[in-house]
């Protein structure tokens, strides 16, 4: 948790970057008007002038990209930490249980090496059903690696490698659609496998992106704030493409 500030800084940094880029896009009024179909243009052959006709209603929007693949990296969230490493919340010392000599000596006989947390890599695929709705699947991978050494000889005794692998069905709702900018929310439900050195478990799992923004066309970057197995703040990039005709 001591590096949490890094994630917060990165999230702020990424949000600011997105806002700056998004401002550039939406301030181009001509692009905005074209993609939202509020206006139509036609040529006047007589005067060789282009006139603008306001059609007065929104034209029916079509699905621009049918497939969407993205890869993201999420900052740890409380939920993902809790499920990955229960000791993050309650440590032995926090519980104030008096230790017996065997427990003390056993604990002192070992040194724990640095803990490496990798959380959370996610890979998603969505198929655009409607311009505002996409259905797909989301997968995530998170891990903790920590080795334990003999405090006398320094030899490695064992490693705690813990993995969380999740697979979810995900529904994404795009509530702001522009040429280069899309804002959305998503909700996913599925299962998460928790794999430890000694045992494993399978839990129901969810993932919510409360607010997500993607910037780009075919190739794009995205930022999401949410909760669930893919972490609290996620950034990444994606690729949209259409089916071959």
């Amino acid at each position: 948790m001591r590096h949490l500030y890094k994630y917060i800084m990165v999230a702020i940094f990424a949000i600011v970057a997105d806002i700056v880029v998004a401002q550039e896009v939406v301030s181009d009024e001509l692009i905005r008007d074209r993609v939202t179909s509020y206006i139509s243009t036609s040529s006047n052959d007589v005067n060789n002038l282009t006139t603008v006709n306001y059609i007065g209603h929104k034209a029916e929007e079509s699905v621009r990209w049918t497939n969407d693949i993205r890869i993201g990296y999420g900052a740890p969230g409380v939920l993902s930490l809790l499920f990955l490493d229960e000791s993050f919340i309650f440590t032995y010392d926090d519980m104030h249980i008096p230790e017996t000599l065997p427990g003390r000596v056993d604990r002192l006989h070992t040194n724990r090496g640095p803990m490496r947390r990798f959380m959370t890599l996610s890979a998603n695929y969505h198929r655009q059903i409607k311009p505002w709705f996409a259905l797909g699947c989301k997968s995530s991978l998170a891990g903790i690696w920590q080795s334990t050494f003999d405090s006398i000889s320094g030899e490695k005794r064992y490693s705690d490698n813990v993995y969380n692998i999740a697979a979810l069905v995900d529904a994404r709702f795009s509530w702001l659609r522009r040429d280069m900018v899309e804002m959305y929310s998503s909700v996913g439900l599925g299962l998460m496998a928790h794999i430890e050195r000694m045992n494993g478990a399978l839990w129901p799992m969810f993932d919510i992106a409360a607010i997500g923004i993607s910037v780009g066309r075919s190739f794009y970057g995205f930022l999401e704030i949410g909760a669930g197995c893919t972490g609290s703040a996620r950034i990444g990039f994606g690729f949209r493409f259409n089916d071959k005709k």
Partner: protein, 244 residues
Amino acid sequence: MKRYIIWIMALITLATSCVVEDGYEREPIAIGEAIASSGISDIANYTRTFISIAAIDEYLATEDEELREQLRTNYIGTNCTIEQEGNNIIVYTYNYYGNSYTLHDITTDGKALRDGGVWQSEDFRLFTTDNAITMVVTDTNKDGIGDSASLNFEDIEFNIEQGYTFNVGGRFVSNYGKGYTLNSEIYKKLSFVDKGFVSGIVDLRYTDEGNGYDDFVTAEYLDHTKIGISYLQYYKLITNYNIR
């Protein structure tokens, strides 16, 4: 282009956050400290018990009410009553709320310890040998877990002004079950003066059969009077840590 640079920078910054916690470094001396403090505490606890028993012996032997009162309040229990019914000696202590519990429930052979008597309680057996009183600590519920000891308290002197003075020898075994054992052997007799130890050396050996630990520590009692406080467990490690 600017956009891609921003994203790449953000990803690199995130990647550097992967190592989130340093390891927990522990020195081998910490193992020795844990073993020594535990073993020395075991011996100290039964030494305290012995002082209480010796005071009961004094209490029953004397008819000086002033001495009895001092023994009762200073060496047996602050709030206690001593009842003797035939060969049974029962010592009750009272807590703040007036509730009582049994401090000692001893069956004797009718003799005082100083006269060669044999005293038996649930936890220990006391008997006199030559110039010493030997305390044999027993595994109360016979489950193989608990303390067992044979501690000899020698050259016992009592002075109402200075309290008890004696030497302690013998060995003490704490059995924690499941193959965990702490064997404390008094290598050089402990000298107890004025509510604390002033010298003596104890060898302590801790074995954990399950993990294969066999740790050996030597600890020396220091003179508690030189540090100006009454502290029964003032010691230092002589041999920090050894593996046999």
